[in-house]
Amino acid sequence: MRNPLSKTITTIEPSGIRKFFDIVSEMDDAISLGVGEPDFDTPWHIRDEGIYSLEKGRTFYTSNAGLKELKIEISRYLDRRFGLSYDYNKEMLVTVGGSEAIDIAMRAMLDPQDEVLIPQPSYVSYVPCCVLANGTPVPIELKAENEFRLTAEELEAAITPKTKLLVMPFPNNPTGAVMEKKDLEAVAEVVKKHDLFVLSDEIYAELTYLDNHVSIASIPGMRERTIVINGFSKSHAMTGWRLGYACGPEVIIKQMLKIHQFAIMCAPTTSQYAAVEALRNGDEDVAMMREEYNGRRRYVLERFKEMGLSCFEPFGAFYAFPCIKDLGMTSDEFATKLLQTKKVAVVPGTAFGACGEGFLRISYAYSLDDLRIALDRVAEFVTEIREIKN
């Protein structure tokens, strides 16, 4: 029999996050700090609206680009929260989560050999999506001393004549890093100078703890070269509803819509109705969750300080990214041993790019009670490692 598989797909590694999960689910009293989604249930009024739409029999396809009502609400929301203005008719597309938007944006924009700059550590799907779109991923290694922000110099150094697209994964999973306005302005200068495009994944935009999130598309001259990706998963605790969106110049959105139309048809109808409610009456829920995460964030940071692990202060998402380099273990060894001996699951930084070596992703999308127990165990573990070392 012939090989049924494409050469491209076999070169792609499976995600490194799930590796530990299978062990965790076998253990009885294991606790996890590894999950990348909110611990809150979707606010009830949003769920209720989804149920209501089902009761009313709204069970058909919506138009390809999404429900008009929802698109209008999205454009109002982006304006009120981030000062972005998009024509809901021509510059917006409702997708199956932010993930679909990443995929179709790359497919719509890349030709073979086009280089895509991907700052790392970052979410696991940019590289595979780029490869599947026949692009060439080029990682940019972000540095702890820059609080894992992308600098203009790092960007400049990675650009070649083949560079077409820059992925901007901020607020960042796994580091929790944010880009402030001044950081974005510096990057934007380089982007414009080299005539690049930007795929800005802003799925964590609502979860920032320093200032309001700034979208790179709001920097002068960037709107016409940026695809903004956002969604409801993290902001409204709606991961399972699979609902996101992409906004950008009409020329790009039009082509993305074609891929979406033929591959997906439309985003889930129930989710779209629920999302209308989320945007109309959900701002307070978002604020409440942000406040809650912020308290946990401070708690987790304090605990790492007590353990003597260095950790820059993350101002976004719901992750901390402590450094374990002085413990004489790789991230993978640490995570494996921690799980075996203390039954706590964390994700090694290397799951998000080679430069994540020496770091761990700690999710604080857990209740304080859970965090307390888990971090007590991590602290015991760190003490034991230090005793063995000395």
């Binding site: 996050i17 799930r18 999960f21 965790v24 996890s32 999950v35 990348g36 989604e37 979410y123 708690y299």
Partner: protein, 159 residues
């Protein structure tokens, strides 16, 4: 800061002040001072425990009693409310808008104990015009806490 402290301890009064200070991003002494001041000022009126007595195997009956009363000249409802809330078996007394005046919640060991209280003590008050006793059959949610066991964390390590 007061509102933040109160919002937090309303749900979790047992947290230690050092941890609370870390979570709120403020100084521990400041938190302790505020707590003490709010206790003094009567803003914090007590620290209670939410108990599922059913699970503890202790028989308890709770009743919500709607009471219609005649207000008294110069005192409104306060005087009669005081006569009612002074009974230790009375849990709470609220002045209510609508079809009746006072909502009295009462906890007792048996139905009989409660009905005795209503007939002997509550209805016997001069100002009380009528009462309507509603017994609680099951508590689904109390003080913002759902009484059903928490669902297991089904999230998987994926994103």
């Amino acid at each position: 800061m007061r509102e933040k402290i109160l919002t937090f301890i309303e749900k979790n009064s047992r947290i230690d002040t050092q941890e609370l200070a870390v979570i709120l991003g403020v100084d521990e002494t400041a938190v302790m001072n505020e707590l003490e001041a709010m206790e003094q000022e009567g803003i914090i009126c007590g620290y209670h425990t939410l108990i599922n007595w059913d699970k503890a195997g202790v028989e308890k009956v709770t009743a919500l009693i709607e009471v219609r009363v005649t207000p008294q000249r110069g005192m409104g409802f306060d005087k009669v409310a005081e006569r009612i809330y002074n009974y230790p078996e009375v849990n709470s007394v609220y002045l209510i808008s609508g079809g009746f005046d006072l909502m009295v919640t009462l906890e007792g060991k048996t139905l009989r104990e409660i009905s005795q209280f209503v007939s002997d003590k509550l209805s016997a008050l001069d100002q009380v015009l009528s009462t309507k006793t509603n017994f609680i059959l099951k508590k689904y949610k109390d003080h913002g806490t759902v009484m059903a066991p928490k669902a297991k964390d089904e999230r998987i390590m994926m994103a």
